[in-house]
């Protein structure tokens, strides 16, 4: 392999080949996409089982989008985002339980905390390449897990925190489960919007440049570390907000549910992988595919014995890693390019 063809850590991404869409066209596409995402909600809102799945789908779509900001666009493959998720969950719950602060406000301190904490803990590890960085973030996850179990006064220790059911809008606790679905939809919509705005901004371009080649980026006047830190802050803060919303949905959080990698930290990555890392729609597509699939598998095989549905999920992961590196969005984009190329040749 010649020096020219360094294999990328994140598979070559998929951006709409060619055009920088105008602001108006972008907005139209965005709203159309949201409308499409709304369809399952509208169709299945009466079925509680599916409603729950859709709610999780929206939430994890938003979380995967947040992860993708630093990992997909920025090329820093983090397996430690569970930490931000957990901080958001614990902060929001704690503020509500102890001081009665409305979660609508309570999600902000967690987000700000992570926007500071994220860059702080990632900064020393940025110079680690690829897998070393991933392992370091894994280590953060483990350390945080241990501390979450330990600091009982803050986190409720191994038993965690329970938020009593006091339905009220201001409490972000809803009697009608559809309101939660709407909440998560809103979160996803905001996350995607942030992603879109980011990738149409200087920071977004700089982020891609940094991911592709740090030396070239510096030669273009980009402060590599500064860019990574800002993207991390954004990604971490957004993830924390998702964590806070999660806490108010399930109303019982504990270290196991927050830090188990295959449920949280790795899942964000998996959703992005399947959908297409480094794209705007990829993480969303991934969520829409995997979350329902996982629930479906659990329902189908749960009776067969413990762990069977997870075996299947593991195979999905394995096969995706082997055969679907660009994800669904990447496959679509490749098809589009081939189609356009064929048109050009006529």
């Amino acid at each position: 392999m010649s020096p020219n063809e360094e294999p990328p850590l994140i598979p070559e991404t998929n951006r709409p080949a060619g055009s920088i869409l105008s602001g108006r066209r972008t907005t139209i596409l965005y709203l159309a996409g949201l409308g499409l995402a709304l369809v399952p909600f509208l169709l299945l809102s009466r079925d509680l089982f599916w409603l729950n799945i859709i709610t999780y789908t929206y939430l994890f779509a938003g979380l995967a989008v947040a992860w993708n900001i630093i990992a997909g666009f920025g090329g820093q493959f983090s397996l430690g985002h569970g930490v931000f998720f957990a901080v958001g969950a614990y902060t929001t719950s704690r503020l509500f339980l102890t001081w009665g602060i409305s979660p609508w406000l309570g999600i902000l301190p967690g987000a700000l905390l992570c926007a500071v904490l994220g860059p702080l803990i990632f900064l020393p590890t940025f110079r680690l390449k690829g897998s070393f960085f991933a392992i370091a973030t894994l280590a953060f996850n483990e350390v945080a897990f241990v501390f979450a179990n330990y600091m009982e006064s803050l986190t409720g220790g191994p038993r965690g925190l329970q938020v009593p059911f006091r339905a009220a809008f201001v409490n972000m606790i809803f009697a009608d489960p559809r309101h939660y679905t709407g909440l998560m939809f809103g979160f996803m919509a905001i996350a995607v919007a942030i992603s879109v705005v980011l990738m149409r901004s200087r920071l977004g371009y700089y982020l891609l440049a940094v991911r592709e080649d740090e030396d070239s980026a510096r030669a273009a006047g980009i402060s590599v570390t500064g860019v990574k830190l800002r993207a991390t802050a954004l990604s971490a803060g957004l993830t924390a907000i998702g964590g806070g919303l999660f806490a108010m949905y399930v109303r019982t959080i504990d270290p196991i549910s927050l830090f188990t990698l295959s449920d949280v930290g790795v899942k964000f990555a998996l959703l992005s992988l399947i959908g297409g890392i480094g794209t705007i729609t990829g993480p969303v597509l991934g969520a829409f595919l995997i979350i329902p699939l996982e629930s479906y598998l659990r329902a189908l095989f749960g009776g067969a014995g413990p762990g069977v549905h997870l075996v299947l999920l593991g195979f999905v992961m394995l096969l995706a890693a082997l055969f679907m590196r660009r994800g669904v969005a990447g496959a679509i984009d490749a098809m589009r390019r081939r189609w356009r190329h064929r048109n050009q040749q006529r």
Binding site: A136, S262, L270, L273, L313, L318
Partner: protein, 295 residues
């Protein structure tokens, strides 16, 4: 509990960590692959030992002869099917090996239906005294095993032809290829050896721990900590790294707080990663070259 006792506990624990890590270190150092499923290889071997016990009444120290080669074969198969195609794509390796991890854990879970097993061993249960400290044979065996393995591996890498190919390939894949070394076969064998070493660890650990499908998780992060601390590809690194991690855990557990044990050595692991990513014995710059360098 006095200091000596803690040190002994730490060293014995270090033996365990070292034994589990030595295979990972080899894989990591030579092929530069992140095998998140390494802990599951250990777990598989533990269940293999149980199987030998349940069906043939074999003492785990005997079933070593069966389980270790089996793990070698398993490792070769996994490498060929899953990891070889993903060479140079570290993020996909992470996913693939994580997928393997989930598969292996849950296959065992599904088969055993969550029942806990243990593997008794007459030899292992003996204890004897060192001064006024009691040491169980099983832990001592592990300590001896890791020492013997480290020495054997060192000799193997230095003196045998395969060992030298492995070292050549680690240093410079291109040149090794140019000199006629079959790089892919070397990698395959290395991975097999790494898996076999994990198997050895699993079998020897089976008398100590009670078996559960998730037990691999206990080891994998510890193993990474040891590998990073000791340095990529360094046998001595895995050995001494294991000792250090074991000692730190024992000391931290006693002097700071037993519940924070794991956090402490993780923090150290992070500190090492940040300050001296090559570890104590590794080649400087290896971590920055990462996995991009070798064509």
């Amino acid at each position: 509990m006095d200091l000596v006792h803690i040190l002994v506990v730490g060293l014995l624990l270090g033996g365990i960590y070292g034994l589990v890590s030595i295979g990972l270190n080899l894989i990591f150092g030579v092929i530069r692959i992140v095998n998140f499923a390494h802990g599951e290889f250990v777990m598989l071997a533990m269940y293999g030992a149980y199987l030998c016990y349940a069906t043939m009444g074999l003492d785990p120290y005997v079933s070593t002869l069966l389980v270790v080669p089996a793990l070698f074969v398993f490792g070769v198969v996994v490498y060929r099917l899953v990891l070889q195609p993903l060479h140079n794509e570290s993020s996909m390796q992470i996913f693939a090996t994580f997928g393997l991890l989930i598969i292996m854990q849950n296959v065992i879970l599904a088969i055993t239906r969550g029942e806990g097993y243990s593997v008794p061993s007459k030899a292992a249960a003996l204890t004897f005294g060192l001064g006024d400290i009691r040491i169980t044979t099983s832990r001592l065996v592990i300590f001896l095993a890791v020492t013997a393995t480290a020495v054997a591996l060192h000799v193997f890498l230095k003196k045998t032809l395969i060992g030298k190919s492995i070292r050549a390939v680690t240093q410079d894949r291109q040149s090794a290829r140019l000199m006629g070394i079959n790089v892919e076969r070397t990698y395959t064998i290395t991975f097999g050896i790494g898996a076999a070493l994990a198997g050895l660890a699993g079998v020897l650990l089976s008398p100590i721990y009670s078996l559960s499908p998730g037990i691999g998780g206990n080891f994998i992060l510890a193993a990474f900590a040891v590998v990073v601390l000791g340095g990529l590809g360094s046998v001595a690194g895995a050995y001494f790294g294991g000792m250090i991690v074991g000692l730190v855990e024992a000391l931290a557990g006693y002097y700071i707080d037993p519940e924070l044990k794991q956090a402490i050595w993780f923090l150290i692991f992070l500190a090492v990663l940040i300050v001296r990513p090559t570890g104590l014995f590794g080649q400087v710059g290896a971590e920055e070259i990462g996995f991009r360098e070798q064509g």
